[in-house]
């Protein structure tokens, strides 16, 4: 039995979002949406996190930061690109400093569109991400077993 579904801890990083998606992620933690109901905690520390919520585009300066955070997260982990900026670059796609969506830096497991994303969409998206997390956990287990 895997408990990943019951206790997904998240870390949130603001790539170069306009804050719109950002504060919606925070809003999810607060009383009206309260995602702690699903066991979700915003850890703020990559080493404790299972789900990487990232908002905003990837630009020259945060590329390495995003990779660093991703690499410091222990397996199994999933990445959720939150908001149009994160999924595709959105309205800033053509800016000189913008490289594009999150998948230009790290593999993304779930894309949650919206500008700004609604908290409900984030909840739906994270729940969908948990399915992926579960699968990855199972894969990790078999890998461990075979190793």
């Amino acid at each position: 039995m895997s408990f990943f579904k019951k206790s997904p801890w998240v870390i949130h990083y603001d790539g170069s979002s306009c804050n719109g998606c950002d504060i919606e992620v925070l809003a999810c933690l607060t009383p009206l949406y309260d995602i702690e109901r699903f066991g979700i905690i915003n850890t703020g520390n990559p080493k404790h996190a299972d789900v990487f919520l990232i908002t905003g585009t990837i630009n020259e300066q945060n590329l390495e930061v995003v990779r660093n955070i991703y690499n410091q997260m222990p397996d199994p982990k999933v990445v959720a690109a939150i908001g149009i900026c994160a999924t595709s670059g959105g309205i800033f796609r053509e800016c000189y400093n913008v490289k594009g969506g999150v998948d230009t830096a790290i593999p993304v497991d779930i894309y949650i569109p919206g500008c700004a994303v609604r908290p409900e969409a984030i909840i739906d998206g994270v729940v969908a991400a948990l399915g992926v997390l579960e699968k990855k956990a199972a894969a990790l287990k078999t890998m461990k077993a075979s190793a």
Binding site: I23, P31, N59, C115, A116
Partner: protein, 359 residues
């Protein structure tokens, strides 16, 4: 031997929702120096004018920031209207005022929560955001978006508010105002909050001027500087005075925002009482030609929109100087000699908005 502690504070850091980096040099936990590094959110959107026409840029301006989104849109429109000498219908001006102040309330409530989180007062954070959600419902109902209002438009606003809605909004706002009182009282009186804010991050009146502080940051240092006094939108037609506090510390800046909350409620009530009937936009024809500096009071202070058009669809130059950008030098000053634990508190008292700052 390095004799001091060097700590990278950010860019990813749980107390800061947005990326900002500080090189903190500490001696036990005393901050000897704090050198900021920014640019994590720099997208370069000012240059988008080359690719998007000046009307389309409204959508970009609204997305400079998701917190002060509406006023960005408004400021952009005012700048274009300034260049093109467009007459905006009065109802639109009042609507801009109402939405602008709603946006300020939402921004301040949000900040109160983040500030509380910054000094580890989790329940205060939660309750601030609980109240804020009520306001977001009103915003969503009247604009269609929770954080990106999407109602700014050159020459007016994109949608109207029916008078029935206006009445309901007013009633709801009264409830929200009552709820906010419970929270601002905590900021005002609680001993543990005071212990964390009084005397922290002092910015003297002189420094506030020479370092170019704006918004609640400068008003917390006892200087009445509020761009709404310029009288744009409907601000010239309602009665109000800038809020100032003279404490010069984190507590004073917090108090400025707490009081501004109620000022904003009051402004909305006044605007609702005075709002005339009529159209909410005019048709825009032609292209901008000439330059204009528009100055508007954002929740965090004065924002400057500079536009220069050359009679084509695309602007020649578009520049935004946001309040947080102006508040960075004062921040550097405030951080010197504080405690590590005060770093988030002080950083948060300028209400940093990095996405605004770095565009």
């Amino acid at each position: 031997m390095a004799t001091r502690t060097i700590v990278p504070f950010g860019p990813q850091h749980p107390v800061l929702p947005e990326p900002i980096h500080l090189d903190l040099v500490l001696e036990d936990e005393k901050v000897i120096s704090a050198i900021p590094s920014i640019g994590f959110i720099h997208r370069g959107l000012e240059k988008l004018v080359e690719k998007k026409d000046f009307l389309e840029m409204t959508y970009v301006a609204e997305r400079i920031c998701g917190i002060c989104s509406f006023i960005h849109g408004q400021s952009y429109c005012q700048a274009i209207e300034g260049v093109m000498k467009i007459d905006v219908p009065e109802r639109a001006l009042y609507l801009r005022t109402i939405w602008g102040e709603m946006s300020r309330i939402h921004s301040h409530l949000l900040w109160l929560g983040l500030f509380a989180d910054g000094f580890g007062f989790e329940s205060l954070f939660m309750h601030s955001w609980r109240v804020r959600e009520k306001l977001l419902d009103l915003i969503e109902e009247t604009t269609g978006g929770r954080v990106i209002f999407g109602t700014a438009k050159v020459g007016g606003v994109r949608r109207d508010m029916e008078s029935l809605t206006l009445k309901r909004v007013e009633d709801e706002l009264k409830i929200i105002e009552k709820m906010s009182h419970e929270l601002t009282d905590v900021f005002k009186k609680d001993s543990s909050v005071k212990r964390r804010t009084v005397g922290k991050g002092v910015l003297s009146k002189e420094d506030a001027i020479t370092l170019g502080a704006v918004g609640p940051t400068v008003r917390g240092s006892g200087i009445a500087s509020d761009m709404r006094k310029l009288g744009y939108a409907a601000y010239g037609k309602i009665s109000w005075e800038p809020v100032i506090e003279t404490g010069c510390d984190c507590y004073a800046r917090c108090m400025v925002r707490c009081r501004e909350l109620y000022q904003s409620f009051d402004m909305i009530y006044q605007a609702m009482a005075k709002i005339p009937d009529g159209p909410v936009d005019v048709k825009v024809t032609g292209n901008p030609n000439g330059e204009y500096f528009a100055r508007v009071e954002q929740p965090r202070g004065e924002v400057i929109y500079y536009v220069k058009g050359n009679n084509t669809k695309n602007l020649e130059r578009f520049r935004v100087r946001t309040p947080t950008f102006a508040n960075v030098p004062p921040l550097v000053k405030m951080l010197g000699g504080c405690e590590l634990a005060d770093v988030p508190v002080i950083v948060l008292t300028i209400d940093p908005c990095i996405s605004c700052t770095e565009r």
